[in-house]
């Protein structure tokens, strides 16, 4: 049980920290959430800077331009990124965390050569076409059809929850290529260029008021057969490769930020009064903050234990479901506590009375998505109780 980072890890931390100290302020302020060209330029510009400095793709293999950092270095990386308030991965999310790693693992040499360097340099933006109105938690029920027609698949269907579709160059797309096979066996994984004819993107405003999500309607879209990743009808397995990448150290930055959010609660509580007393003097509030601190420390320790285990086995364990479940629900509790402390100031979506209401409200609203996206809390509880605890399975 050795908790201390190695000298090499600390050296890496110092170098990265020094670079971020210059690079983050130099990159300027993030554009408005409605300025899509601006957001693409901002996020991909940051990705390019990471690349030039040798910090792009910390978890990517060296032969594909990544840093191939050890898991503890990755943890350090995410800690420092969060500490420095560096730009979030943003529009590069799907390319860097889903599509890219899948192409690296399952793609042909041609596919890799074409996409991987460009994703890493921030020249190519990807989106995800997985979910459908009829296929949410039951993703394998997807119905978007792809019919082989010479050198192309003709794709027709309706995708939903597609983030950053407006500014994407490619879409990692799940389609049904064999409607007669059982639902997991007729799915294929395609790289769909977003400039093909027949693609209609309709933004779907969220409760935050942004339009990061879109519905994507596909009408006879001709996707080249050479864009098939993995074998035809083997897409479900390929997808699971992608999903596994989601469950490593990826939450580490957000966990670190969650600690900052709890500090923000304290800071706000010290600045607002109720019943003529500073809110931080409220013993019940302090106790709740204390319990949350204990739980955040527990979550972080869980992460370290999981990273130590993954470093040995090479594969994130099922425990990642427990971390995801715990992290997202804790996040919501911290956000709700902030809302309570803000009181009437929390009726504003912009800063009022010199309080950071804008951020607090955006975080609170956004937190509601966390227990839905990437497998709902209820699905995680099923996974934990069935695959880890061995309880009887739900009918499927």
């Amino acid at each position: 049980m050795d908790l201390r980072y190695s000298e090499a890890d600390e050296k890496f931390r110092a170098e990265l920290g020094a670079w971020l100290k210059e690079a983050v302020p130099a990159h300027g302020k993030a554009p408005s959430i409605h300025d899509w060209p601006g957001r693409r330029a901002y996020d991909t510009g940051w990705q390019r800077k990471l690349f030039d400095a040798g910090y792009a793709g910390v978890n990517w293999p060296k032969e594909y331009g990544g840093r191939d950092a050890t898991l503890t270095e990755q943890l350090v990386y995410y800690e420092e990124i969060a500490r420095a308030h560096a730009p979030y991965v943003g529009v590069n999310f799907v390319g860097m965390l889903h599509g890219g790693p899948t192409v690296i693992t399952e793609g042909t040499e041609q596919q890799k050569a074409k996409h991987i360097p460009r994703i890493l340099r921030g020249e190519e933006v990807w989106c995800q076409g997985f979910s459908e109105p009829v296929a949410g938690s039951d993703l394998a029920a997807l119905q978007t059809r792809a019919v082989r027609d010479g050198d192309v698949y003709r794709v027709t269907g309706h995708k939903i929850w597609t983030s950053f579709a407006q500014v994407s160059d490619y879409c990692e797309l799940l389609v049904r290529t064999n409607p007669d096979a059982s639902k997991h066996k007729g799915i294929s994984w395609l790289i769909m260029p977003m400039d093909l004819p027949g693609i209609d993107i309709r933004p779907l405003p969220t409760i935050i008021g942004d339009s990061d999500f879109s519905e994507v309607f596909l009408e006879d879209v001709p996707v080249p057969v050479e864009n098939l990743v993995g074998e035809e009808n083997d897409g479900w397995r390929v997808t699971n490769v992608t999903l596994r990448f989601e469950r490593g150290t990826a939450f580490a930055s957000e966990m670190y930020q969650l600690q900052e959010s709890l500090r923000d609660v304290v800071e706000i509580a010290k600045r607002v009064t109720r019943h003529g007393v500073v809110v931080w003097e409220d013993r019940a509030l302090r106790r709740e903050v204390g319990h949350l601190q204990s739980e955040l420390d527990s979550l972080w320790a869980m992460m370290k234990l999981s990273v130590s285990e993954t470093a040995q086995t090479g594969m994130p364990g099922l425990g990642a479901s427990a971390i995801k479940l715990y992290y997202t629900e804790l996040y919501q509790r911290v956000c709700e506590l902030a809302l309570g402390v803000l009181g009437r100031a929390g009726l504003a979506r912009e800063d009022v009375g010199g309080l950071p209401t804008q951020d607090a409200l955006r975080r609170m609203l956004n937190s509601l998505s966390l227990t839905i996206a990437g497998g709902t809390s209820q699905v995680q509880r099923n996974i934990i109780s069935e695959r880890i605890l061995g309880l009887p399975r739900e009918p499927r």
Partner: protein, 327 residues
């Protein structure tokens, strides 16, 4: 950083586990109801190194660290081993005979400044009583106290006595020693609470997999599965934070000891209580009977919650620390 339990630690834990399984079964515990102490068992625990575990080898101890001790106490917690385990362990090196089991040492934590009633566990079996104040440690002879037994203790395996007045004792440690004892005590007891967190979930799983209603195991109903999934998350989070506290005491450069300890004790207390309560609920009517041992765990949790700082007190300490860190 490699936070995993290493091979030596796993072997140590396995040794204690198999000892407890053979020696402290539920049937044997039932025999101890009302007594909560057995001198042969105490000697055997001493022989296993439970009390002298962290004492240097030169002083007759095993020479291991707090992280190792946490693993041992986790097993003691799982098996509900009764007795003033943490106090005697902490007294090793401070009170002659503690390490080898010839002196049974109990204690009363007065560092939080709480007043009467003063409740002392296992009083009639104690050779030495430690008084832990915020700024010192004192030792007193139990016979110097006017103690009256409480006929019906909450935990049938932890007899208690009520003491009306605390005499002055011999000072055997200063403020630093007192703080260290409080930290170490909190972490050891957190280990026991972790053990309870784990065992009560294991009991719930076993019961709900076997119990059938509506022609299916009740463990297949989502309403129950999801309770157990939450128990599992709590168990994993508690394990991580409790191990981290032990490791931080061993290597203070790895983190903030006071914070690590408070996070562990606050979390472990909450988790043991929530998982034992869930176990009562998941066992249905049987969970409310004396025959099913779930209640032993629930009751022991209260004993352990109320020593070396409650969850609430540790939460308050964490909030205090955070409040100071935020200008």
């Amino acid at each position: 950083m490699d936070f995993r339990v290493n091979e030596d630690q796993a072997a140590l834990q396995e040794g204690i586990r198999s000892f407890c399984e053979g020696r402290v079964s539920i049937e044997q515990l039932r025999e101890l109801e009302g007594k909560g102490f057995e001198s042969e068992l105490w000697s055997e625990l001493a022989e296993m190194g439970v009390f002298g575990l962290r004492l240097p080898e030169a002083d007759g101890g095993v020479g291991l660290g707090t992280a190792d001790a946490v693993l041992v106490f986790e097993e003691l917690g799982k098996a509900l081993v009764p007795g003033p385990l943490a106090w005697t362990h902490l007294a090793a090196g401070l009170v002659d005979g503690a390490a080898d089991g010839t002196a049974v040492v109990g204690g009363l934590d007065l560092s939080d400044g709480h007043g009467a009633p003063y409740i002392i566990e296992h009083f009639e079996n104690l050779d030495v009583l430690l008084l832990l104040y915020a700024d010192r440690i004192e030792r007193v002879a139990p016979k110097a106290l006017d103690a009256k037994p409480v006929a019906t203790p909450l935990d049938p395996l932890t007899p208690i006595f009520e003491v009306s007045e605390i005499p002055e004792g011999e000072v055997i440690g200063g403020a630093e020693d007192a703080q260290r004892m409080r930290f170490e005590g909190a972490v050891l007891v957190s280990g026991q609470l972790l053990g309870i967190t784990e065992t009560t979930l294991a009991m719930s799983l076993e019961y709900t997999k076997g119990r059938e209603q509506f022609n299916r195991p009740i463990g297949g109903f989502q309403a129950l599965k999801h309770i157990m999934a939450d128990c599992f998350v709590r168990q994993e989070a508690t394990r991580a934070v409790v191990y981290a506290a032990g490791a931080t005491i061993d290597d203070p450069l790895a983190g903030d000891v006071s914070r690590a300890v408070s996070s562990a004790k606050a979390m472990a207390g909450e988790s043991a209580w929530k998982n034992s309560r869930a176990a009562v609920q998941l066992h249905g009517g049987m969970g409310f009977t004396w025959e099913v041992p779930v209640h032993y765990y629930l009751k022991r949790t209260r004993v352990l919650e109320n020593v070396f700082g409650t969850s609430e007190e540790h939460a308050d300490a964490l909030a205090e620390g955070l409040g100071q860190a935020v200008a």
